[in-house]
Amino acid sequence: MLFGEIFRLAFASLTANKLRSSLTVLGIAVGVFSVIGVMTLINGMRSSIETGLNVLGANSFQITKFPPINFSDPWTRFRNRRDINSPQAERFKELMGDAAKVNLQINRNGLTVNVRERKTNPNVRLWGTDENYVTAFNFDVALGRNLGAEDVEHGRPVCLLGDEVVQKVFPDEDALGKLIRIGGQNYTVVGVLASKGTAFGGSPDNIVLTPITRFLAVYGRSWRSIGLNVQAPSQAELAETQERAIGMMRLVRGLAPEDANDFEVFSNESLIEAFNNIADIVAAGALIISAIALLASGVGVMNIMLVSVTERTKEIGIRKSIGAKKINILMQFLAEAVALSLIGGLVGVAFGVGGGNLVAFLMNTEITFPWLWTGIGLGVCGGIGVVFGLYPAWKAASLDPIEALRYE
């Protein structure tokens, strides 16, 4: 009996019991869905975190009040920390002097930019920052000028627009010198950033930069902690610069020698590492859930196959009476079990990749296809079909021909 013949037969009998087959398929699909979905999402997040962080440059690190990713420590450990306020940040920048470029940054998301009757979607990120933002994030100023030290000093109501914002509100006119409104405040456009044009969703270009002093004046100083981006002159001097930055920061914060740091210092690598740690835990969780779900649905496959064998005892008798060998019957039922679980696997992969990427899309991360996990998932499904289909198939193959024929 040929392979194609066996599978044609399997599909014919699966479609003969559509509802029952679909329910079993669903069980498998759920198991595969959870692992593929999570893996897709993690893959997407990982690649966009990696590309996103690479933009920061290999010789920079960040100092913030809260860790960017935290999984191991209780929130209370960070909650009572003092904010990094404006005087501290300014002082820190001053103390670092020429040893490193320090960029102060604070942001607010979900804003709308208005220019007369035109406006953007309420998803623009406004950065209160300084002249070093552009180099810190590897932007180029396409038109006009960068923020300057005097802008920050005097809290001038000026701004630089990201490319996406320009496309929206100044589609066919020169933005320089024009006024824009954000939340009832006017800003004069002094510069336009070149598009980074990476990733979809447009987040890197959907920004407006304004002096941090202006930002704080508009949105208030309390309950705000400023982020500090520090760029060492070279990668070789990164460790040394980091040492120095920690020392200066402790000084600025007035910490006694026995006090622990009340701020976080992290670089690209430590971020990626932290993310990977969490991703590994989430992945392990998804794997365990999937394993349990697949085990349960494997039992479901076995159950359905046992029912199918019993129901089709007469058919088995007929087949044996006209010369079907044990192996023929065994393969017939095994193929059915494998087909059932593979279809479940394919459905699970389709929904997992679709669902995972949908979430990834909503989170503005990259769309990916987890080839490895798809392969593993389908392989495991095939294995489940074989393992849980073997006993029912063996039972069918071992039926006594005459007993089976007599079965009503």
Partner: protein, 246 residues
Amino acid sequence: MIPPSATAHAGPRVTRPPGALVIEIEDVTKLYKMGAETIHALRGVTLKIHRNEYLAIMGPSGSGKSTLMNMLGCLDTPTAGRYEFNRKNVATMLDDELADIRNREIGFVFQTFNLLPRSDALHNVELPLIYAGLGKAGRIEKAQRALVNVGLGERMGHKPNELSGGQRQRVAIARALVNDPSIILADEPTGNLDSKTGEEIMALFEQLYAQGNTIIVVTHEEDIARHARRIVRLRDGLIESDRAVE
């Protein structure tokens, strides 16, 4: 063994001389244990059948005809006694060898047809060829020819429930014949059919016999049995008589 008589019916009735010994059973018994009770379906049956024979097995209900037939067809195994098919002891054969005999040597026709209900006539007839390992094109061609031979050329796409009883039995016969078996076993092939349709089926067997097949038919109807050249009568699991048809 009593050789079939050359004298026969009026009409174009030919009796072919017997060929090689193909079935030999000796002192075969079959017991069924039903709880504390033991049913003796066969109590020691000895029988030789040669190629080119046309044999009818008769007897009252419960006398063991079907039990004997299933054994001859390698579907069932005796509790005791020896069964040699083509001079080879069946008891020593593996399951797959028996499957092979059922597939290639024997065509079995059941009283209740035993067709696959969800498959059309063509696929039902094709089935033995699938297990014989024939390719698709060859299978279709042979199955179609077998169906045409039993007069069902127009009904190949019909499922069993779209066919009359007589037509279903013809499909079953086509299936039994499709792999060119040398022996045809039929357990009450006309039992579920009216007498006219029954006669048509028997005419088909007559034709097959004339073409060189060995035929064994179980029946409890004298009219049907008269088509055979030799009649074996069973009673209570024993052979009561075994003689040629006058």
